[in-house]
């Protein structure tokens, strides 16, 4: 067992020694591919954040009729949180509505002079979960609320929500499409690059086959070597990505970098792409031969 482990370590070390020398190219090449992948990751994250921000502005306002009784208000305030999709509902009395309106008017609050009776109705401001912020579900929710006694009208910006929804669909689809295209082309680059690395190790592979190395013994060192190359590449790509982000963030506030899970995913992606690329290229090489 120890000796077998030693076999692997030795093979990996030998492979890497060569990689360091004549195979610096794979690391750089894969790093470029990963860098583009990383840009895409960061863009996706920023886009998600934008969607989140846009969603934050989507909410339902339930205006109460002037004649709404206290019982009706109470019933509504108890019913709202139990309604599917509602995250929370806040009551806004006539007076509070007026005060807020004055605040919004700011210096132009003189407009309200001469209005001696508060024209604003009381309302509930309903906050909805993000996944309920689709045109269909919002309309359904609004219809439900319109039927409740004491409710005058329900407003949620129908056209807005519909447009936002279409936009999100488009962006998510584009993101997915780009992700797949990028992922596949990165795998292709890595596969081809590892083929070059394999070229320099063919003699070892041939010798291992000759002396009866198992499938595992022949492949593992190469796969680990690929994973390490991938990891080095992601480190390089990450460093460049970070610099790029610093550059962008200095000019454009609010641009986000990869978050922690994204970062972990990025390195894991580098390692597994390297390993898979190596496995693909060695399998293609060995496929013609049995054993």
């Amino acid at each position: 067992m120890i000796s077998r482990l030693e076999h692997f370590l030795r093979e990996i070390a030998c492979g890497l020694r060569r990689s360091m020398g004549s195979h610096l190219a794979p690391v750089v090449l894969i790093a470029v591919a990963l860098f583009i992948m990383g840009l895409f990751f960061a863009a996706t994250r920023n886009m998600k954040e934008l969607i989140h921000l846009a969603h934050g502005k989507v909410g339902i306002t339930v205006y109460l009729s002037d004649g709404a009784t206290e019982e009706e208000k109470k019933a509504l305030s108890e019913m709202l949180p139990r309604l599917g999709g509602v995250r929370k509902a806040a009551y806004l009395s006539e007076d509070e509505a007026l005060r807020r309106f004055e605040e919004e008017l700011g210096t132009r609050s003189y407009l309200l002079e001469g209005v001696d009776e508060n024209p604003l109705p009381a309302s509930f401001e309903v906050d909805v979960y993000d996944d309920w912020k689709t045109a269909d579900r919002m309309a359904e929710l609004a219809d439900k609320l319109r039927a409740v006694p004491g409710v005058e009208s329900v407003v949620y910006g129908e056209s807005w929500v519909g447009r936002l929804e279409r936009w999100i669909y488009f962006v998510v689809a584009l993101d997915l499409f780009l992700g797949i295209v990028l992922g596949l082309s990165t795998l292709l680059v890595v596969g081809n690059t590892m083929k070059l690395a394999l070229e320099g190790r063919k003699d070892t592979v041939e010798v291992l086959r000759l002396v009866g190395g198992s499938r595992f013994q022949i492949r593992l060192p190469f796969v680990v070597e690929g994973a390490i190359i991938g990891l080095l590449s992601s480190t390089l790509a990450f460093a460049i990505l970070y610099r790029t982000w610093r550059f962008a963030a200095a000019r454009l506030s609010g641009v986000l970098f990869l978050d922690l899970p994204g970062t972990v995913l990025f390195f894991a992606l580098g390692a597994s792409l390297g390993g898979c690329g190596a496995l693909l290229s060695i399998n293609r090489y060995l496929r013609v031969k049995r054993g």
Partner: protein, 234 residues
């Protein structure tokens, strides 16, 4: 120990080996001769299970080409030694490493490896070069490394495919002497060659291939010199 039973191997229309049957006994030394393209390499590859018969069965010890599982091929190869004309060494590693790799693959303990590798290197006269990189060795020395690697696990049989093809006559004779010595130690040897000089001096059983078929008759040196006449069969 080793047998070919009605073995044929074709590549499309091209038939490399045709209905071949023979046995090799434990400890035997067999010289395989025949013109270029006669099928010598194909026979060795079949034995090594690098290729599989189109029909017929190749048996090596407990392994048979018709039933062997892919995972067992590696185990079988650990019991065979194979020497190629082009050596097949890892040029940028040391002589020691090149021999030791065959034992590491089997999982031999480190101390045993150290001892045994030195032993075989001494047998092929390369103990003093153990630390040198293979690339620094002459052709004859490289072939001796390959032989040491083939012998290090004490194989059933040593397969040699024109091991002297790239070497000058004197060096070839040295290599041949090494194969003889391994055979005296109990290892069966199957040597494919068209080195006439070598065949002329050999006292071993000779099989002759022509167009993938065994040519009936005795082609051993003695027989060819005419003092025993031509015997048929084996």
């Amino acid at each position: 120990m080793i047998s070919f039973r009605n073995v044929s191997k074709s590549y499309g229309q091209n038939v490399a080996v045709r209905d071949l049957s023979f046995h090799i006994e434990r400890g035997e030394f067999i010289v395989l001769i025949g013109a270029s393209g006669a099928g010598k390499t194909t026979v060795l590859q079949l034995l090594h299970h690098e290729i599989f018969p189109t029909s017929g069965v190749v048996t090596v010890g407990e392994y048979s080409s018709d039933t062997i599982r892919t995972s067992a091929i590696a185990r079988l190869r650990r019991k065979l030694g194979f020497v190629h004309q082009d050596f097949r060494l890892i040029r940028d590693r040391s002589v020691f490493e090149n021999v030791a790799i065959a034992m590491r693959v089997v999982g031999t303990p480190r101390r045993v490896i150290g001892k045994r590798v030195k032993e075989v290197l001494a047998e092929v006269g390369l103990l003093r070069r153990a630390r040198d990189r293979v690339a620094e060795l002459s052709g004859g020395e490289q072939q001796r490394v390959a032989i040491a690697r083939a012998l290090v696990n004490r194989p059933y049989i040593l397969l040699a495919d024109e091991p002297t093809g790239n070497l000058d006559p004197d060096t070839a004779a040295e290599i041949y002497a090494l194969l003889d010595r391994a055979n005296l130690g109990g290892t069966a040897v199957l040597l494919a060659t068209h080195d006439r000089e070598l065949i002329r001096r050999s006292k071993h059983r000779v099989l002759k291939l022509a167009e993938g078929m065994l040519v009936p008759g005795d082609f051993s040196a003695g027989a060819i010199r005419g003092d025993e006449g031509v015997r048929t069969g084996f």
